[in-house]
């Protein structure tokens, strides 16, 4: 079916993009003035040791050759060593990545569900106070950046109204589950450890809400306007006129075409989610890869920085492909090629 070739094309394109991205990152990392070998060993290491390391790191070879060594390493899983943690970057990534993914996935789900709910609500009660309230909320929701929301939550829930935890992933004293997927909530469920599950879940709520706020309201507005546009279309009047019950018309025939615009934008919104995670993780002390990345950036830990960017690039690409597939599933015109004659 055409869907298969569509996926294949996207996949090949993604590969190309990732390779290009790696080149760009490599160039950026090597643009830095300074000597990576010296930085790795510190100012007091003897010169000959630094020279040996330079040769090992292939710093004396021309740039394209350096790139190839680096890429080969990446494929083997060797992202180099972190200046800060002094261990292989891969180890660091394996430790911190699941935390960020758990947060991002939860925030993404929140965003999707509530955006559709609010959008449908606003469209159904168009021009009433419900619609107006949602519209005003969305102006504020979009204007409040994730890190500002995070700080406000810190203030509210950390000090004035401590009903939700604000720091870290798990309360001190709570035994964490065995690491299966790295997602605390999932792992606790698998183990049947319900107290841990509930605790981990509660810790996720505030950061996830802060992250999802902007995208949520933006998608809600798009859902609403898409539904309002479609509400006046002839095919809805026709379907109603043929006797199909109102509920079915609303929730099947109106919803599906309206969701196309919303889902299309979810890829971009997920990207903002990932970006904003950088700051939100800092604020909530969430031990994820974004926080790791920030510290790497502040310490000019080049290998770590490059690795973090590649990881995010890949994640984003995968999400984009998923979003494209969902849109293709929703809209047959995309997956089956262009129309015949009009």
């Amino acid at each position: 079916m055409k869907l298969g070739s569509f996926l294949l094309r996207r996949f090949l394109l993604s590969i190309f993009v990732i390779i290009g991205l790696s080149i760009v990152i490599f160039i950026i990392a090597r643009v830095v003035p300074g000597d990576p070998a010296r930085m790795a060993l510190g100012p007091r290491a003897p010169e000959d040791v630094v020279q040996t390391l330079r040769q090992e790191m292939h710093l004396d070879k021309p740039l394209p050759e350096q790139y190839f060594y680096w890429i080969k390493g990446v494929f083997r899983g060797d992202f180099g060593h972190s200046l800060v943690s002094k261990r292989p970057v891969l180890e660091d990534i394996k430790e911190y990545f699941p935390a960020t993914m758990e947060l991002a996935i939860f925030a993404g789900i929140l965003m999707a569900i509530f955006a559709i709910l609010l959008g449908v609500l606003a469209a159904q009660h168009k021009d009433t106070w419900v619609d107006g309230l949602i519209r005003v909320s969305s102006y504020f929701g979009v204007a409040i950046p994730a890190f500002v929301a995070a700080i406000i939550f810190m203030l509210l829930f950390g000090y004035y109204w401590p009903i939700l935890p604000v720091l870290g992933r798990l309360s001190p004293g709570m035994t964490p589950p065995r690491t299966i997927t790295g997602l605390l909530t999932l792992d606790s469920l698998i183990e049947g450890n319900f107290p841990a599950f509930w605790d981990a879940f509660k810790h996720m709520i505030l950061p996830a809400v802060a992250l999802s706020l902007g995208g949520l309201f933006q998608e809600a507005r798009i859902t609403r306007s898409s539904m309002v546009d479609n509400m006046h279309k002839d095919f809805l009047a026709a379907e109603r006129g043929y006797g199909i019950p109102e509920k079915i018309v609303m929730f099947k025939y109106l919803l599906k075409p309206s969701l196309i615009s919303t889902v299309s934008i979810m890829g971009l919104d997920f990207a903002s989610l990932l970006s904003n995670a950088f700051l939100v993780e800092l604020i909530f002390n969430w031990p994820g890869i974004s926080r790791y990345g920030i510290s790497a950036m502040l310490h000019k830990d080049l290998d770590a920085i490059s690795a973090v960017i590649i990881v995010f690039g890949v994640v984003f690409l995968v999400v984009n492909v998923i979003v494209d597939v969902i849109v293709a599933l929703l809209d047959p015109r995309i997956r089956l090629g262009t129309a015949r004659d009009m």
Binding site: V17, V32, V142, I144, P145, I151, V308
Partner: protein, 306 residues
């Protein structure tokens, strides 16, 4: 015999080579009506004007302009909001309100510079790729654009800013690098659909050169989405700038920057809450203003000029 713009001429074939006056200004009355229909757009415009005026006239508007620079007054540190210090003082005794007003300067400068640097190349590349759609130029340009867009925006800016020395100039470079692809994408879509319109084909058939077609036929018809996007982008660039200064990249102390003020103040929560909340609210205000105004501009341009 009447020529194209309505004047009289004596020759049987009258071709008017003068460019018609920009339709935006001739329709100003109608455009303003469309913009002002939505009260929220007016609010946005007011907010934006307040911000711009504060930034320009900061030394006169700020009650303590000298405190926006190197200034220490530990006796007055940590004062809550009062009549003398509308937003209180920070940990070094500086008036927060004055610092916010001066921070607007850096924010606006960053937005102007970044957009001035990013929009022209982005638009140019997008036009070219869109016009030569299907050819190798299109593929090359759009693939490069894809690469830059493959990383979530802030991450790229952070990375670039972090490998360079932390200062305002480098922050602007970093943000510019991640901003231009959005305009390329926008123009690519618009240009590639416009190039199939009849007036473009007509121009091609009469022998118009490619340069003329791209800049005289296609570009003027793309202007509305470009301006709308620029209006909305000012807010977003400022936000990215604030995010960068939040982590310490970008404007360095003692020059005030909103993100940095939020981050510094966060350490003193909850007792000295004003140190972080007011700069945070300033960021929200900026975004709100530009978003509302940008929506109004979209309403005004989208159904008018095209």
């Amino acid at each position: 015999m009447r020529n194209l713009s309505g004047g009289q001429s004596n020759s049987p074939i009258a071709v008017n080579l003068a460019r018609p006056k920009s339709l935006f200004w001739t329709n100003l009355g109608r455009n303003w009506y469309k913009f002002s229909r939505n009260p929220l757009s007016i609010i946005g415009l007011v907010i934006v004007l307040v911000i711009i005026i504060s930034a320009i006239f900061a030394p006169w508007i700020a009650p303590y302009p000298e405190q926006a620079g190197p200034f220490v007054d530990f006796e007055n540190a940590g004062q809550p909001p009062s009549l003398q210090h509308l937003c209180g003082t920070d940990n070094m005794g500086r008036d927060i309100f004055s610092r916010i007003v001066f921070a607007f300067r850096g924010a606006l400068i960053m937005a102007i510079v970044v957009l001035a640097l990013a929009v022209p190349p982005g638009v140019l590349l997008g036009l070219i790729a869109g016009y030569f759609q299907g050819g190798w130029i299109d593929t090359v340009i759009m693939r490069i654009t894809d690469i830059f867009l493959a990383v979530p925006p802030l991450i790229l800016a952070l990375a670039v800013a972090s490998v360079l020395e932390p200062n305002l100039m480098n922050a602007m470079i970093a943000v510019t690098l991640m901003w231009w692809p959005w305009y390329t994408r926008l123009l690519y879509g618009t240009a590639s659909s416009i190039k199939n319109e009849y007036f473009v084909i007509a121009a091609e058939l009469t022998g118009a050169g490619k340069f003329h077609i791209i800049f005289r036929e296609i570009l003027p018809n793309c202007l509305s989405p470009i301006f709308t996007k620029i209006a909305l982008d000012v807010g977003w660039v400022i936000l990215i700038g604030a995010s960068l200064s939040f982590v310490g990249l970008g404007q360095q102390p003692p020059t005030p920057a909103l993100g940095q003020m939020v981050s510094d103040g966060a350490r003193y929560m909850p007792i000295f809450w004003w140190m972080t909340i007011f700069p945070a609210l300033a960021i929200v205000l900026i975004l709100l203003g530009f978003n509302l105004m940008g929506d109004g501009i979209r309403d005004m341009l989208e159904r008018g000029m095209g």
